[in-house]
Symmetry: C2
Subunit: 417 residues, 2 copies
């Protein structure tokens, strides 16, 4: 089955807004072996929208639209699809009654304009929207199934899911099995070099490598026309071989972030953490505290951006700062020890470096970052020179610190503990 | 002139990768009055790509493709466009010579496979790629201009720019003028309610309101067939009226972020800042230190996630914590005063709240956040109840704190200072 996704909305063509509904839909379809051939973004423009819907329906067996189902004049998806499919729009009193109920619950009278949402494409099934006023519409024209979804993701998802289960899963013609690894402490090209000879041999499963600062993801997708078991066997055969080559860098085999994996590991071991951040400016604490439940293990720390705070609060020796500078292994070490003592934490983790674009000195290039972890009977420091913008150097520093912690939790503490 | 953009690459259909080349191209085209009607993402699939190129060329006068010009088997853009335009591919020896030079400079022999990049669509102009091996191609087929660009943005941009200046700007038929305002401390619906009666009267300029947590943007785009001056006059007429209504919330009329505006303002007034962060976990410091040059005014601060750090480092009275709780106006106030004293800063800014999803108590709902600013002879606290996920509550808290600082810098210190 071929699928085309059409996101409707002038704001998506303009001004740096990006459609994300297609990502959700593509992932769900893929899980059932329906691959998206193409996706389109089109403005709130009748001729353009009707044109692309018509072409898409000639090409694909499934066309999914999101957006343009609201009550205002620029919401034209219902009309454009009706035009493309050469069908009439029919006014349905029941929908108006439902809309009036929704507004009554909100304590207001339904604005007249919302009655536009009661127009339905002839022959379409109306899919209730539990979270908004725009119902979804599903039309099966024989050669092509067309689904109209509202634009806001929280409204789009439940409607998509109900149609997906009822009409799409039953006709999906592939069995799919996916696995993924998340890696840190290794670059994209190094990852590729270590396993390309294995995965290049396979056209099924398909291997994809995705890179973001600090984290590499490897995805494997196996397909079978016969059974789930076959799809799984194909995927496992390849993934297990790749895993063997890269296991030292894999921090997760499910969809969790590196901070989540670390918070979980700290919880398992009942350890507390405090951070001392110079160039990362609070970003390490920010990432860790994005994790639900991080307050069980994360105490906090010090953003020691100015040197006066490194000495005044963290207790870094002024002589160290003078002799080695703020960006040095010695300062990083004293920051980690200092924050651990100050916060009475089990682990102190420190970052100090030059995020740029200014600040380099002789022997200390832009992007030079020192990281240090201090724990009971354990100290480890390292440094790296990161390239990229200020924000990317910050991000890479933070992930490098998290990776040092991951290695500590794995190695120094013993894997089986 | 109608334009359609086609991003080529299976990775863009899959696994949460998003095409960003179209955003750059759309912005540049818009500056010259060429509006993008549609954009398409299509995988590395010959039939699909040739099909959409053919349809796009029937519909638009300008079709821009990015991606798929590399040397490997899945790079099929040249061939697909040739098929769609019913033109031949011609092998050009000069390109091979250029490619060999590029590889020699890198100290390696050109892999045989790169010779594929020397195939050119009959009648196309070859546009040199100073940053990579894939040259761009420009074909004017009479009714439609087709531009083939490499996928990596750093290679795409220079090639696009040279074609843009040479072939597109001369035929652009609109004069365009844009203005924008950035607002904080006001919601999207409140913004709309305050100025909709003005902007709804105008079809030219077009007004767009964009919302992200903490910041609202208003964009105005005026077009004229006659002159730059007319486009400007039209835009100013509307923008000035809207500005009058919303001036209390506007923090920038150019493309700078709220943290950038605040760092600049602190620099102008030679003031230093320290932060005390509980629920925001370092995110306030992180945002501020993303600004180049923030080290001139930002000293750092304390991530006081655990209560022991609020009292132990910041000096919040244990009796305050006991009586009012960690999430209270009193604690926020003592945190701001404490961090200001500890870091010897001119301004102390504190955030404490319940980011969720757990942690609510009787009388203290999820999303309740207290913010306090302490400066010489000045203290101001406020609280808000934010909705949204943990990360959104954190982000809204941070922007609320930044807005409190903006108001302090503007009002308490005197606007004219």
């Amino acid at each position: 089955m071929r699928a085309i996704f059409i996101a409707v909305g002038s704001e998506l063509l303009d001004l740096d807004r990006v459609d994300t509904n297609s990502l959700y839909v593509a992932r769900r379809l893929r899980e059932k072996g329906i691959l998206m051939d193409m996706k389109v973004v089109v403005g709130d423009h009748m001729d353009n929208l009707a044109w692309i819907v018509k072409k898409a329906c000639q090409r694909a067996q499934l066309v999914i639209l999101s957006g343009g189902l609201g009550p205002t004049e620029d919401d034209i998806t219902r009309e454009a699809v009706a035009t493309a499919l050469k069908k009439n729009l029919v006014f349905q009193e029941e929908i108006v009654a439902d809309l009036k109920k929704i507004f009554r619950r909100r304590g207001i009278t339904m604005p007249e304009i919302n009655a536009r949402q009661a127009f339905v494409i002839e022959g379409a099934e109306v899919i209730a929207n539990p979270d908004g006023t725009a119902p979804g519409l599903y039309v099966d024209s024989g050669s092509c199934k067309v689904l109209l979804l509202p634009g806001p993701p929280n409204e789009m998802i439940p409607i998509f899911e109900s149609v997906f289960e009822k009409y799409l899963v039953p006709v999906a013609n592939y069995h799919i099995y996916t696995r993924s690894f998340k890696l840190t402490g290794i670059s994209e090209s190094e990852t590729d070099a270590r396993c390309a000879d294995i995965y290049r041999k396979y056209r099924n499963p398909v291997t994809t490598i995705l890179a973001s600062p600090g984290v590499i993801e490897l995805h494997f997708l196996g397909r079978s026309k016969n059974s789930d078991e076959e799809a799984r066997r194909l995927t496992d055969e390849l993934a297990d071989k790749v895993r063997e080559r890269l296991k030292d860098f894999i921090f997760a085999e499910k969809n969790i972030s590196l901070p989540e994996a670390i918070v979980q590991e700290l919880k398992n071991r009942k350890l507390t953490l405090a951070v001392a951040e110079s160039c990362s400016g609070g970003g390490l604490g920010h990432l860790i505290t994005n994790v639900v439940g991080s307050s069980e293990v994360f105490l906090g720390g010090v953003i020691a951006y100015a040197n006066s705070l490194k000495s005044g609060i963290l207790g870094v020796d002024e002589a160290t700062l003078k002799k080695h500078g703020a960006v040095s292994a010695a300062t990083a070490g004293e920051m980690a020890v200092g924050v651990r003592r100050l916060c009475q934490a089990d682990i102190g983790l420190a970052i100090t470096g030059i995020a740029g674009p200014g600040g380099e000195t002789t022997g200390k290039p832009l992007g030079l970052v020192y990281i240090h972890l201090s724990a009971e009977n354990f100290d480890k420091g390292l440094h790296q020179i990161f390239s990229g913008s200020r924000e990317i150097v910050k991000t890479r520093s933070i992930y490098c610190a998290l990776n040092l912690m991951r290695e500590y939790l794995k190695e120094a503490m013993g894997e089986g503990q």
